[in-house]
Symmetry: D3
Subunit: 198 residues, 6 copies
């Protein structure tokens, strides 16, 4: 069985890309050791690429009440609910690394109610899944429930906005048939020698 | 009954906003005669605001196989499916204006199968709704069906990407309780004197 | 694009109709200034026509704890949930007129949780939507919830019966492809000179 | 365990009812040997009672391309899909009697795909269930499918209108908690002596 | 209309079956007066037959906090939710016999909220249906709700395990098209002379 | 965050178990190097344990048209659809080992349409998911579709029966909160030295 291609659309060669996009790709390659396919496949549309990663960075690299691992939990839980292979696999790897926990990503992707997370994180993911699956039903009582777990209004925006952004991302990946790099599947599953921590 | 507020979050005063965001808002106000609430409410987060509108413009102001009215049809149909009041009302107004058709927006928002559209537009909206509601099921056969109506691969990306972007937009609007400006409800419903066409 | 026909079935000429049905149609024409298509399309079956409008009038022109505008809210909310173009457009117009509110119909049709309504009206529409979408789940606790908002047993029957009647009406309209008259789309959206109130 | 009451609402005494309603009830009692609870419970609202049974009779006692047993099949299949105990039990009894088949009602109520019916009846019930559960999706292709089984346009109206009427009826029964008479459960299940046929 | 066959698969002749399976079948035939089709159709696979009935007996013939009638209620309610004709009809008959109640099976199969059962039995069936339809959502709070009705942990296992076992059974019956024996439809519906009680 | 327990129920000590169950557990421990929690948690009910594993072995260790890897694909795909953490993780590991493919389990669990499988395997999983999620809709046309891919009637029984058995298994695991052993998460993800193949 030949593996599926990484996109239903043509994947641009690096040297054909605008300078800023090529720079971003080279930077991630240096950091990760490989180029995640989301960079190559979305580069088919440079303007959308720029907006996509600007949005991504604004939400995922922001300081605030949510840790980086918690932000990735939101991505993995909602991507699991949307059956998005790329995001479950790629962000599952990132979640394992940030949380330094080799089990958490598969747990959150499959059924967050069975994951080794705190009640506060459970409430966070309940809300994220409501945004992902039934945002029309959100009411003030949902905000109250999160506040009872110590989230402030800006944290709630973060949770909802990450779930909303990956509603977009999951649909793009599903539409173009974005294939996760083979490297992601194993990342963060093995105990690391101390020096290898990022 | 007091009207609901325009957002669950604080709405920044114009003079407190970064220069580029203020400029964008003043520009839209000049064109439309009022400031659509999406600009005011999302300005609560300047970085996300910039990415949001960069993405929006890349998809909605692009040249290509889809007319501007068709792009708005996709927005209205998927926003209707997501029960997003802001996007149905605001983009319904824009659709009426672009299509020069006072009926089309309510038709597409309620049930696109009953709208006065072409079979090609019907196929376009069927795919957009699949992206919105069940993107995991998209397969090559769905691409074939669109190609049979004369859409090329780039058109299909446009359809899917607009549906995906408004999956984000609808969830943000539902989460923060974004209220459509009263002005939108009537826009494009009245026959215009010839000189008033945009 | 040629507009869709007003029905999948033949539409009888006025002069071919039984006297009582013709009288009813002439009466509504005089009052509204045009003949809503529901009268013309359902007249294809005179006996069903008579029962339909007898039922309609028994529910919608009844005195009781619900105002006329509230009865129309129930119609518009449940017809929106059933994606029924005719009823959303035609009863949306009637709701705007009765409520003297140009925004309320689009709000209720799209997402009643975002509408400018009272908590009592919100509870009324929650129950109406339960009758429309999941009547098998109705229990005594749902009656209690309405009673807590001041509805008595007869009011609750009214809410449920209107939702049930439009479950029928929406399905007939969807089945025969009933097209709303163009006139409805604009009705009640413009401020009226005082003398024009009905 | 005390049996549930026959309605959440007061059930009028026969002698307190308007003459025409009492006459109708006495007539059905004479024919059936008992008064089906739908007559007693809906008599709480005389005007709605009259419209309900006028509509019922217009659809169920009409001549046409559908046999009486087929009309009842539509009722039983859609009432099963709506989890309506009254209509499944009461119309199940009527279906057994009309079809002279003691098995058919339970088959159609539980899963019409497993019932001993003709392919034409299978197509009829498929359409009735679409009207009951997803009327917004009905298109010309559904009419074509029925025509291929020999149904004409008037037959299709009958199928759809019966499904639509029982969408109303099921919701009323579920809302008021209408209890089927104990007599219905056994009716039509036993072989009848020749002289007892109706 | 010729009745549907009892299985999509070949039904083994009794004399071709392994001794233990034949003995089990002869035993049930002696007790019931006929061979329920589940024995004949599943005998197509002797090893699976043995495991199936061992599992069935471990759950259904066990002593404990649930009566035999209550165990059958769980079967009938969940089989109704799964639209499984064989199990609704066959276990409906057994439920009527165990409960000595000719109405209970049709009530529980159609809508357990309208059945003449105790609040404790209602809670039992609510949980069984959650196991049948949405087991991923089960949480500690669901166990608490059952404990409040007097169920201990072993009772809850029984409820869940019976619902889980018939999730298997319903799917097998639906897949092979297992037809209920005609005899089941009438069993337990008639008052029995005292001596005929089992 | 303390890990969740391996079951909501008491886990029997090995030495307290009946001889045959202890032997089975010791055998699997020897083979796998650890005791999968499904053996320990289900041993709480010895009779059900015996039937469960007899059924499991009859389906999963059978010879026939499906390879062992294909049988596990069915388990993983349907367990993913049922959000069953134990089965996704444990059988995902077994699938990786049988298929000698470190990627296949995550692909099949998340979205089998995006997995590196053959069209024949895709059809197999489509049917398995229909059995898992909507078995009432299965018709002869579904059998035809599988036959067109070369499956015979016995293969189809295998596919359906495995999906049906794990409908039971997933519900039991979700109900008792069965926790997958940490060891499973990494199994089959690393290239093995030739001698280590099982």
């Amino acid at each position: 069985m030949k593996p599926l291609p990484i996109s239903r659309y043509p994947v641009p060669r690096l040297e054909s890309l605008p300078e800023d996009i090529r720079a971003r790709i080279e930077q991630v390659q240096e950091k990760a050791g490989f180029v995640p396919n989301v960079f190559l496949t979305l580069a088919h549309r440079p303007d959308e690429f720029r907006a996509f990663f600007a949005y991504h960075d604004a939400l995922m690299e922001k300081q605030g009440g949510l840790s980086k691992a918690e932000r990735e939990m939101i991505v993995v839980a909602t991507s699991g609910a949307n059956d998005c292979l790329y995001c479950v696999i790629a962000h599952g790897a990132i979640l394992r690394i940030y949380a330094k926990n080799p089990l958490i990503a598969d747990q959150v992707a499959t059924n967050h109610r069975k994951a080794d997370i705190t009640p506060r994180q459970r409430a966070m993911l309940d809300f994220a899944l409501q945004v992902a699956l039934d945002s029309a039903s959100i009411g003030d009582e949902d905000f109250e429930r999160l506040r009872a777990h110590g989230f402030d209004a800006e944290d709630i925006w973060d949770i909802g906005a990450i779930a909303a952004f990956f509603a977009l991302s999951n649909r793009m990946a599903n539409m173009i048939g974005m294939r996760p790099n083979d490297e992601f599947y194993l990342l963060g599953r093995l105990p690391k020698p101390a020096a290898a921590n990022r």
